[in-house]
Amino acid sequence: MELILFLITALIAIVGAVAMLVSRNAVHSALFLLLNFAAIAVLFLLLQAPFLFTIQLTVYAGAIMVLFLFVVMLLGAEKVEDTPDRIAWQQPLALLLGLALLVVSVVVGLGGATNPPPESEALIQFSDPRTLGALLFTDYLLPFEVTGFILLIAVIGVVVLNQRGRKI
């Protein structure tokens, strides 16, 4: 049962990702990416991590993709311009190298997992929001605070780059 669910979800995730890449319309791409995010969220659920499931939905599907769509719609930039690549050999080469990386990753990934994954009891305990919150404020306090500064800088950056520069 779980395996079937996993296979279906994984298939949806992959189809969403590939369709996102090949789609010629930016809004369609965004929607396929949304599909991919939703599938990833379900995968988190299958891994006994409901907290990550909701965070994935709220942050990626609910906030980031909405902003993407908003910008694409506002600029009316949904149509991809069909200018030919100036460096013709780049695309096939990139495809080839990407494919090679994919093959290597799959082979390595399949061979790499030698031990069984942790028990689901341990996983449930690990993914409990209470535990995660406690971890963030004890062991990972330093990275947590640094994240705050990064967000502050992002805000500063938006303000600085957006206001029309008054020349001095």
Partner: protein
């Protein structure tokens, strides 16, 4: 677990944060300062606050490290000695803070280097006028410095990644700060895109390493500390392909940040387009921090796959680094030859220098522990000298660009007749980059080559020496333009105090550390 007693150990970082917020707030009344004179005052106040503040932070960090003055045990107890004692109790040594931030000698030394570089950069910026928002401009420099300080001490994946972001995001913004200048905007965008992709690659590598470690742990219940470098090193010692893949991704991601060939293509454009003092900062402090983080990552996370510098056994990160070093040294130097824009030329030159530093990293795989320590010392010494020199060179270029209106080779013509002291200062920096004795650049290169030779990477050293000789050609072209070619325009170029002070620091540093390297080597050897 974070403890209150860890706060003195993080003092320089906390001070940097406070300073950044102060500088940010110092410009909060901009609404009442829109006349040109008032705006100039705003720029000056923000810049001076930054320079003075960074100077104070550098002083605190220096005092804390205890390299210059260490309070004797027998000192009398009074107000001042208590302060110093408390400060120095947070000095080098001790377990990493919350397992995430190491405060060993390496961190202390790198912290001094980075805060020093930021101080020189802020001096360079004293006379540069960022368009609007001066407060934000200087605050971003300090935020970036904070990120680098965290980066050199990072002992854990999450902190390492976030520190890289904290370093890079302000730099993206600073590179694109002159929004109305298309070159600056291009630099900002390009830097951002490459940086984002490289972060993704790095993060992918980190998650693979985490997965490999998780696999190594098996079904243990506690996997909270599996993001620490050494824990991953322990648990992945026996696993094969997965951790190799992780290492490749991490090296590639860091390679983008360090601009080593073949991950360098963004750097000439960014260096050219960014405001020149920012170029100086990007090419020195952020590179130094990146190398130290790479060193920690490779030696602590992947100790089992070191390989050897002689490359007699295939595999290991030394093999990857050796290829990168070779490509970087050759392509960096050859590509610098035809450049006509001085900033691009110096950009390729700093790519080439990154290749030499990678050579120093290779020595860590040597069989003898002595060679390893020598390698690290040589690497740090090289980073110090390179930072000083490049800050000086780009600083001089900033002034020239500002006063002659461009930074092509033609703008350098006849500089010796327009401002002889400036030309001389610039010359010292360029000669040090080229590695002419008795300047610091010579000894740094010599030391790196020596270490490389001893640890067995002979063929690489030979190629590097040849390329050093090639590099003389383009460095001397700069000198030729300044001293021999006739000037098209003989209006004198003034040397403002801020840039003058920065150049003086750089040149004096290069001269003194070049002639008396023991001054700094005694400290560096403690690592």
């Amino acid at each position: 677990m974070f403890q209150l007693t860890d706060i003195p150990r993080l003092l320089p970082e906390i001070l940097l944060l406070v300073l950044a917020l102060l500088v940010l707030g110092s410009d909060i009344l901009e609404r009442w300062g829109r006349t040109p004179a008032a705006q100039l005052e705003r720029v000056k106040s923000s810049a001076s606050l930054t320079a003075i503040g960074l100077g104070m932070v550098l002083f605190v960090a220096l005092l804390q490290s205890g390299y210059i003055y260490r309070l004797p045990e027998t000192a009398p107890v009074n107000f001042f000695t208590n302060i110093i004692r408390n400060l120095q109790s947070g000095g080098p040594g001790g377990e990493p803070i919350a397992g995430a931030f190491a405060t060993d000698h390496l961190t202390m030394i790198a912290r001094l280097l980075i805060i020093g570089a930021a101080l020189v950069t802020s001096l360079l910026c004293l006379d540069v006028r960022p368009s609007a928002h001066p407060g934000e401009f200087y605050a971003l420099i300090i935020f970036s410095t904070l990120g680098m300080c965290l980066m050199v001490g990072a002992n854990e994946f999450l902190l390492a990644y976030l520190a890289i972001e904290l370093t890079s995001i302000p730099l993206y913004l600073l590179a694109g700060y002159f929004r109305n200048d298309p070159r600056s905007a291009e630099a900002g965008l390009k830097y951002f895109l490459f940086g984002a992709i490289s972060s993704a690659i790095l993060l992918y590598g980190m998650s693979l390493a985490f997965g490999a470690a998780l696999n190594g742990v098996g079904s243990a219940t506690n996997f909270n500390d599996l993001t620490r470098f050494d824990r991953i090193g322990t648990f992945t010692a026996s696993s094969g392909g997965l951790i190799t893949l992780a290492m490749l991704f991490i090296v590639a991601g860091m390679g983008y940040k360090l601009a080593v060939v073949p991950f360098h293509s963004w750097s000439p454009d960014v260096y050219e387009g960014a405001p020149t003092p920012i170029t100086a900062f990007i090419s020195t402090a952020s590179k130094a921090a990146g190398f130290i983080l790479l060193f920690r990552l490779l030696t602590k996370t992947f100790p089992a796959m070191t390989g050897s510098p002689t490359l007699d056994t295939a595999g290991g990160w030394t093999a990857v680094l050796a290829v990168l070093a070779l490509l970087t040294v050759v392509i960096g130097n050859l590509a610098a030859l035809p450049q006509t824009n001085v900033k691009r030329l110096l950009a390729y030159s700093s790519i080439a220098h990154a290749g030499f530093v990678v050579l120093g990293l290779l020595a860590w795989a040597a069989a003898q522990p002595f060679d390893r320590e020598q390698g690290l010392t040589a690497l740090l010494y090289y980073l110090f000298i390179y930072s000083l020199t490049n800050l000086g060179a780009f600083g001089a270029l900033a002034l020239i660009g500002q006063q002659t209106g461009g930074d092509d080779l033609t703008h350098l013509r006849g500089l010796s007749r327009r401002n002889l002291p400036l030309a001389l200062l610039f010359t010292v920096c360029i000669l040090s980059l080229a590695g002419i004795p008795p300047l610091g650049g010579f000894f740094a290169k010599f030391y790196i080559f020596m270490v490389g030779w001893q640890s067995g990477a002979t063929w690489l050293v030979v190629i590097a020496v040849v390329m050093t000789i090639v590099s003389l050609y383009y460095y001397l072209r700069l000198l030729k333009a300044m001293f021999i070619e006739p000037a098209t325009d003989l209006t004198p170029v003034s040397l403002p105090r801020g840039i003058g002070a920065a150049l003086a620091i750089a040149v004096v540093g290069v001269l003194v550390l070049g002639i008396f390297p023991n001054l700094i080597l005694s400290v560096l050897e403690r690592v």
